[in-house]
Amino acid sequence: MAASINSSPVQRERDLLGQTVVVIGGSSGIGLETARLARAKGAEMILTARNPDRLHRVGLELGASIAAFDATDFERLERFFDALPTPIDHLLVTGPGPYYAPLAEFDLDAARHDIDAHLLLPLQVARDAASKVRPGGTLLFTSGVGGRRTAAGLAFIAALTAALPAMTKSLALEVAPVRVNLIAAGFVDTPLSASLLGDRIDERREQLRATLPIGRVVGPADIAALAVHLMTNTAVTGATFDIDGGQQLVEG
């Protein structure tokens, strides 16, 4: 069942049975949870990630098709889309996270990689994939809300964060009737986040539980639920959706 541009409200609530969903970065965190939810709703899954072992395990779990490569290698990305066996219905890009540092410590190579991953990757995906997506399907990009704050050390991430909603809106016009939407997340509690925050993770979780209006920490399943909603609600395009449990309201 291909996504339709003329779905009724009832049809918009249908699951993803018969549809094909591609997740770039589908072996962990937000990408993995979205893949699990989309699969549970009947979608055929095609997953990519850099880590072939982890991707293979997820492929086995979900009965998915997999391709292991770095999506910021744009020549490989183009060949991946060329090799897709069938049209797809939806595509989620979960790029790497934002880089930010004080000017005195600013690493130009890291910043360039971030531009590739956050700005050029969505553009490349739109260019390579739009013709592969059935009308009414969606390209879903991910971003964060942290870069909306004004603070020393955030100049680069602030610029990238501001760019993505504008890019999303323009792409939504350019690739229509394929839809384009952006998910902007705050802190999301994943094993990877925990491994990086180390012994500070419990403190951060507790801080968020105590301060967020929702009284709990946002998890990858929360983001997945929004992503799948945006896949199935064919009225939504060119939009940016914040999902941070109210983090911006209390952290500025």
Binding site: R50, I66, R76, G97, S143, L197
Partner: protein, 43 residues
Amino acid sequence: MSARYRDESDAQLAGSNRGLMGVADVTPTRVASSKTTTALRAE
């Protein structure tokens, strides 16, 4: 790199700096059983 890490997406960035590239294949291949590991052949 002295970036501070604060959320999930930051964590993914750090992961990207850890040299995870290596064995790769851009052709989507269905994983039906553990015997399909060869689909992850090196290019």
